[in-house]
Symmetry: C2
Subunit: 469 residues, 2 copies
C-alpha cells in the first residue's frame, strides 16, 4: 500500500468500524437478539448458531463503553509507533509506559465485561471464544514439560550436525512463483475463488464469499520460506473456500476461532508439507519445472531442513518443536500481567529467565527478546495462545484423519491431496462457524482438546529424524 494512503485508509476503516459498532450495540438489534435468544426452539441448527455467535459478541460489546473502546484504539495506535522505535533501539524502557497503560485499559475491559475465575478469560474470549485460562493452564503446562523433554533428547542427537551442512540451492523468483502456484493448486486451492499476491509479510484475506486471497514473499536464496508460508496461508484460505455454500451471507461462513483457523494452516504447513512423503512429491515436481536448481537438493535433505530443531530467539522463525515454548512463555506472562501478579516493568526480566529455563538461550537485547512481536503494542493481549492451540488442534484432528484415510503417505507422495481436502472439508471446513471449537473437537475426534496428540506426533516424527526412539 502506498504510504501516503495510510491516513485515508485509517479514516475509512475507522468510519466503517464505527458504523458497525453502532449497529451491533443498537437498541433495536439488542432487543431482536434477546427475543430470538429466548425463543430458539423452532430454529434450525444454523439459525441457532447465528443467534449464539451474535449474542456472544453482543453481550460483551454492549458492556464496554464506547469511550473505552476509542481510548484503546488511540493508545494502541500511538503505542505501536513507540514500540517500533523501542524495538529499533532495543530499549524496553521506552515501551514500558505504554504497556502499563494498555494493560490498565485492558484490565478495565475485563472488569466491565465481567468474569468468573480470571480477568484474562475476557481477553482470551475475543480470539478464542469460550476458552478459559484454567483450561489453558492444564494443557499448556503439560505441553511445556513434554516439549522440554523432547527437546532434551534432540539436543543430544548427532543428526544435528548433519543438517547444519545441507545447502539450499538458489532458485530464481519466477520459477518459485510458478512452482508455488502449481503446488497450492495440487493441494486444492481454488484459483476461481482466490489469487496469490506478493507482500512483505504473508497473510490471508477474506475479500468476500468466493474471494479468499493470500500473499507470500519470495527469497531467491531460500525457496523454503515462500514454500512453507504459501502452504500455511493456503491452509487458511482453503478453510474459508470450503465452507458450505449455503452459509454464504449468514455470518457463519467464517472460521470458528483463531485457534481452529491456525490448526488448518498448520495441518497443511506442518503435518502435511513437512512430511517425507511431501518432500518426495515436491522434489519430483520441482525438478520437472527447474531441474538445474532442484537437482542440487534431495528429498531426504529437504525433509531434514524442514524439520531442523534449533532453539532460537525469534518466535516466527523457529521450528515446530520449540515454537510452543515461545507461546507458553507469553501466556504465562500475559495472565499474570492482567491479574496484576507481575508489573509491566518486570516483564523483560522474567522473559529472559524463562527463555533460559525453557529453551536454554538468552536474548542479546530487548529487540530480539520481549520487543520482538507487535501484538502487545497493538493491544492484542490474549492472542498468542491461539497459535499453539492451532498446533494442538491440528495434531488431534490429524491423528483422527490418519485413522480414517488409509495410507496417506503414498497418496501425498504422488501429489494426490484430494482425500485429505475432502476429509477436512467433510469434518471441519463445510461447517464454518456452526459449532464452537470445543463442539467441533469432540465431533471430529470424540475427545476434548488434549496436548498428548501433539506430543505423540513430535515424539514419533522427531524420534525418527533424531534417532532417539
Amino acid at each position: 500500500m502506498p504510504k501516503s494512503g495510510i491516513e485515508g485508509k485509517a479514516r475509512q476503516t475507522g468510519y466503517i468500524a464505527k458504523l458497525l459498532h453502532k449497529k451491533s450495540i443498537s437498541k433495536e438489534f439488542g432487543q431482536a437478539l434477546k427475543y430470538i435468544k429466548s425463543n430458539t426452539e423452532k430454529l434450525k441448527l444454523e439459525e441457532k448458531a447465528m443467534v449464539r455467535n451474535l449474542y456472544h459478541e453482543y453481550e460483551r460489546d454492549i458492556k464496554i463503553p464506547t469511550k473505552l473502546v476509542t481510548e484503546i484504539v488511540e493508545v494502541s495506535s500511538r503505542s505501536q509507533k513507540v514500540w517500533e522505535e523501542a524495538k529499533r533501539s532495543s530499549d524496553f524502557d521506552k515501551f514500558e509506559p505504554y504497556l502499563t497503560k494498555l494493560v490498565k485499559l485492558k484490565r478495565e475491559v475485563c472488569e466491565k465485561v465481567g468474569y468468573d475465575d480470571s480477568p484474562y478469560d475476557v481477553l482470551l474470549d475475543s480470539y478464542e471464544p469460550y476458552m478459559k485460562e484454567k483450561t489453558l493452564d492444564k494443557i499448556f503446562s503439560s505441553l511445556r514439560d513434554d516439549t522440554i523433554k523432547v527437546l532434551g533428547k534432540i539436543e543430544g542427537s548427532k543428526v544435528k550436525e548433519k543438517i547444519g551442512k545441507i545447502k539450499i540451492p538458489s532458485i530464481p523468483i519466477d520459477v518459485q512463483k510458478e512452482l508455488n502456484k502449481a503446488v497450492v493448486a495440487d493441494l486444492g486451492y481454488d484459483f476461481s475463488s482466490g489469487r496469490i499476491d506478493e507482500a512483505e509479510h504473508p497473510f490471508t484475506t477474506w475479500i468476500t464469499t468466493g474471494d479468499i486471497r493470500f500473499t507470500t514473499h519470495y527469497y531467491e536464496e531460500n525457496f523454503i520460506q515462500a514454500l512453507t508460508s504459501s502452504i500455511h496461508e493456503c491452509g487458511h484460505s482453503m478453510y474459508e473456500q470450503n465452507h458450505d455454500k449455503k452459509l454464504a451471507f449468514t455470518g457463519l461462513d467464517e472460521g470458528i476461532s483463531l485457534g481452529i483457523h491456525e490448526s488448518q494452516s498448520r495441518t497443511w504447513e506442518n503435518q502435511i508439507a513437512r512430511s517425507m512423503a511431501f518432500c518426495k512429491y515436491f522434489i519430483k515436481k520441482a525438478r520437472k519445472i527447474y531441474d538445474k536448481g532442484f537437482r542440487k537438493i534431495s528429498a531426504d535433505d529437504l525433509f531434514l531442513i524442514l524439520n531442523e530443531v534449533k532453539p532460537g530467539m525469534i518466535r516466527i522463525r523457529v521450528d515446530e518443536v520449540t515454537y510452543n515454548l515461545h507461546v507458553v512463555l507469553r501466556f504465562e506472562l500475559e495472565k499474570k500481567l492482567i491479574k496484576g501478579n507481575i508489573k509491566p516493568k518486570d516483564v523483560n526480566e522474567i522473559w529472559i529467565e524463562k527463555m533460559k529455563e525453557y529453551l536454554g538461550v538468552k536474548p542479546k537485547n530487548d529487540g530480539e527478546g520481549v520487543l520482538q512481536d507487535v501484538h502487545w503494542s497493538s493491544g492484542l493481549l490474549g492472542y498468542f495462545p491461539t497459535y499453539s492451540l492451532g498446533n494442538l488442534y491440528a495434531a488431534q484432528f490429524c491423528s483422527k484423519m490418519e485413522e480414517d484415510i488409509q495410507d496417506i503417505d503414498s497418496k501425498v507422495e504422488i501429489g494426490n491431496f484430494k482425500p485429505i481436502l475432502k476429509w477436512l472439508t467433510d469434518k471441519i471446513y463445510r461447517f464454518g462457524h456452526i459449532y464452537t471449537a470445543d463442539e467441533l473437537c469432540k465431533k471430529v475426534t470424540g475427545k476434548k482438546l488434549d496436548s498428548k496428540y501433539f506430543v505423540k506426533y513430535l515424539n514419533k516424527k522427531y524420534g525418527k529424524i533424531y534417532k532417539f526412539l
Copy 2:
C-alpha cells in the same frame, strides 16, 4: 478478481450504495443542506463549493424514487448479460428489448427530475454537471464538420502508405514494465501515493486520499498499447494525486466532471505523449534500458505510428482525429432516443448510415457496430459525450499552457516534464472540485469551451505529418 467472488462483491457494494443513498436523501441531511444553501454569505470559497456540489446531487437524487433506482440497477444487471451474449453472436435484435426498457426507465428519471429544454440534459448532468444538449449541439456539430474536412485532407495524402510499412519491434513484458514505470515516474506520477497493477482493461482507481492506482495491460508484440494506456491512466491519476492537500476529506478532492477528468488523461496521452519531442525522449530512454529491441524503431517512425489516422470501426482503437466522430454519432443517437424521436429498433440502421457518412466505413456486423460498447447496456446514457469533451478541454487548456511555458518541446525532449505538471497543478489539479467545468475553463483560458482549439491543433499537427498545410 476471481470469478466466484462476483456475487459477494455485488452484495457488498450494493449494501454500501444503499447506505449512502439512504443517508444522502435523508430528511436531516436535506434540512441541513437547505439551511446552509440559504445562508452562504459567511462561507469560504471551498465551503460554498461543498454546498453547491452536495445540493446539486441532493436536488436530483431526492426526486428519483428509490424503486426506480433499484429497477434500473436490476434491469442494467440483466441487460449487461444479454448484451454480452448479443455482442458475441452479433445480434442487435437480442439486445433491442433491453435497450427499449432502459430508455424507458431513463426517460422516467428525466421526467421525475425535470428539465427546461431537453430530457437528455438530465442524463448529461450525471456525468458532466451543468452541461446541456443545446451547448453540445453547437460544439459537436462544428467539431463534426471540421473533423470531416481534416479527414478528407488526410485521406488524399501519400504519407499513409509509408506509415503502413513501419514495423513495431517485439519487446519482452519485463522490459515494458520497467520502462512504463520509469516513464510515468518521469511524467510525475507519485509512487508514494499509488501503484501500477495489471488488469484486462486499463483503469484508474481512487482507493483513498493519497492512494491513486492504475492498471495497464502489456502485449509483447505491441509495446505502444501499454505505453499509451499507462500514460492515459497516469494523467487521470496525477489529476487526483495533486489536489490541494487541504481538500482531503471535504468531498472536494475529486475531479470536476468526467469531461475534465478525461481532458487530463488526454493531455498526457495525446497532447504530450504523441508529440515528436516525446518520441525523441522515449526512444532515447527506451534504448538505454533495452537497446536490442528499441534500436529497431526510430523516434520518427514511432511518431508516425502514434499518429496514424485510419477510419476504423471500434471507438476505443481509433486515432485522435476520427475518435470524436464516433462520439458525435453516439450523441446524436442518444438524444433522439431519449426524446423519442427515434425508436431503439431503428438505432442499428441509423448507426450504419452515420458510419458511412462520417467515416466512410461500414460495420461488418452488429458486434463491431452498435453493440461494441458496454455503456448502454449498463444504463450509461449521456456518458459518451464526456470523452470528446475531454479532447476539447485538453486542446483548449494546452493552447493556453503553450503560451505560458516557453519552448515546451525542448523540455519534453530531455524528459523534463516538471514545468508541465506544475502548470497543470497550479491551474487545474489543486482546485479539485471547487469550480464547475465552465468556471474552470474560463479561469484557465479566459474563454468558454470551444472546439476551435482542438481543430486548430488537429490541422497544425496532422497538416505537418500528412503534408497538407
